[in-house]
Symmetry: C2
Subunit: 313 residues, 2 copies
DNA sequence: AGTATATATAAGTTCTAGTTATACTTACCC
DNA sequence: GGGTAAGTATAACTAGAACTTATATATACT
């Protein structure tokens, strides 16, 4: 009961009545427009005034004049009702399996491979489609704060509850070398290479960068930090320019679209590592859409990976 | 009764309950958070679902999962409630004679004279102040569609009901000539002038332009249409450049701020005409504010008109 | 001032949102 | 797989909000 006091000083019905009075100019006219009696309208207005503690109309004049507070209430109330009235029809849309708007985050290294097929699919399931590129870590935060509905990236946020996850594919980390570099067969070849050419790195802000770094330490390589990039294009472009070599993945290379004449992909010597690409959405909020979306993404990634092979792995 | 059917399928209270369930994950938990019983929550949710015709939760799983429609409802409902909760506090602001936001239109030719004093005054009466410049005709439309609260211009919209009007001042139309032109004493001097120099006009979209045009016809002058401008600056600048002469007003000239070395203001020969500057607001919606605002505007215009005289009238 | 038109108040009625009590589901655990 | 704990739905009831009719009071117009 004590809770009730902090409640809203009006409900949508009373706002409808208030607006009807604003339009009609008198309570009596509003009452007949709303098909109710004049005292009901009078009481409803009086109730809002009592609960808000503000007079909305100046009763000393006829037709009624809005007070300062009343004018403000009119602006706000009409906006509020307009939005409220949209909701019902929007809900009905979802019954055809369509959602009014959907926002998807795609990690930079997949955007070239996925943006077009995802958008095409989503257009059939949503009225408004936003596809945002960026880092997985950023997207994870945005998913949790509801600025994104789904993201596709390299972290499945295993530790967080309330999410649904789909594995899209795994891809191996590989060596990306300038065409002129010799073949790298063994770990000692790699160590030698790292003396003559710098390692072009993914920044530690990216999940991929962190994994590469961890692996380098595991291999016992101690390579100074010279170049680092947030984006797959930066890494591949520098390798293509002969400025260094990189540890990356086929899809990252595909993403960058650098000329395949200037680069070679080769197997990483020593223990193999791979990265897992996942899709993450809030638990059961989008019905069938995530499941279908994951399938579309898998198909697109498989197709791209096959193309990616042509680069020369 | 038949009316009731087209009503909104929820009210603000039921949205609060719905959101509490979304956050709590179960109806029972939401009920205790809201300090009510579980069946009440269950019934409230069921009622929204019945009225919207959309299932919001998937009951076959626990904790409850949002359906497609439920996810959408969650987004919309939380936005709607956030706005609704702002209204109460905003209304309270108005009790100190302050209004949360006010939007004022000022006709271009007064903006230099008025913008600073009006803004200063409004800052004491509103939390958010917008002052927009433009043509009176545009502002009139915006006033009626509630995108403006007040405007100051050259039309008092006499024919429209539901508005309050304040006269700010009258100012005479005058001749604006390049410094090198000879004195114009009589109508025949003016006719002669119009053979050698073009008339720089206000566009017919502006109220001032229409009045000037009407007066020219009344004087029997037939002057070809060469230059026309929406803004006072355009007109004055061309006169200052020696490209023509104009029929304008002191405040329009002041507005343009062209060098007084290049221009002369002189009395219009023949019958005198003047323009009336008015302020218009929707009837009794802003309390005392319009009355005070009009006084501020009058003071500012008088001060400017005296300065304006120094230009050389 | 008198009349017509609005608004406020009073008293009674209906209907809704809440209650308690209980039956039914789902999830989980041995 | 059956038993148990936790959650949800349904039924029957109640308090109070939202309306109603009836009537008193205030404002505007002539």
């Amino acid at each position: 009961m004590s809770e009730r006091s902090q409640h809203l000083p009006f409900d949508l019905r009373s706002l409808e009545i208030f607006l009807a009075v604003c339009e009609a100019g008198t309570m009596a006219a509003a009452a007949s427009a709303l098909d109710m009696t004049q005292p009901a309208v009078s009481l409803s207005i009086a109730e809002i005034e009592r609960k808000t503690g503000s007079l909305l109309f100046d009763r000393r004049v006829r037709p009624l004049a809005l007070t300062l507070a009343g004018g403000l209430m009119r602006q706000r109330a009409s906006a509020l009702l307009a939005e409220a009235r949209q909701i019902g029809p929007l809900l009905r849309e979802t019954k055809r399996g369509r959602v009014p708007s959907i926002r998807v985050g795609v990690v930079d290294s997949l955007s070239r491979a996925l943006i077009s097929p995802l958008t095409k699919f989503l257009a059939s399931r949503a009225g408004e489609v936003s596809v945002l590129s960026g880092l997985t870590a950023t997207h994870a935060g945005e998913l949790l704060t509801r600025r994104l509905d789904v993201f596709l990236g390299v972290d499945d946020l295993e530790e967080l509850p309330g999410l649904e996850r789909w594995e899209l594919m795994r891809e191996p980390y590989v060596l990306l070398l300038p065409r002129h570099a010799g073949a790298i067969q063994s770990l000692s070849d790699l160590k030698k290479l790292s003396k003559s050419l710098p390692l072009i790195r993914f920044s530690a802000r990216s999940q991929t960068g962190l994994e590469v770094e961890r692996h380098i330490r595991r291999l016992g390589l101690d390579i100074p930090r010279t170049f680092e990039f947030d984006s797959p294009y930066g890494v591949s472009a520098l390798v293509a320019a002969g400025e260094g070599f990189a540890i990356t993945t086929p899809l990252c290379v595909y993403e960058a679209q650098v000329s395949s004449k200037r680069i070679i992909l080769s197997k990483l010597p020593g223990p193999q590592i791979s990265r897992k690409l996942s899709m993450v959405a809030r638990h059961r909020e989008l019905g069938q859409i995530p499941r279908d979306l994951a399938e579309v993404a898998r198909t697109a990634l498989r197709a791209t990976a096959i193309d990616g092979l042509k680069i020369g792995l």
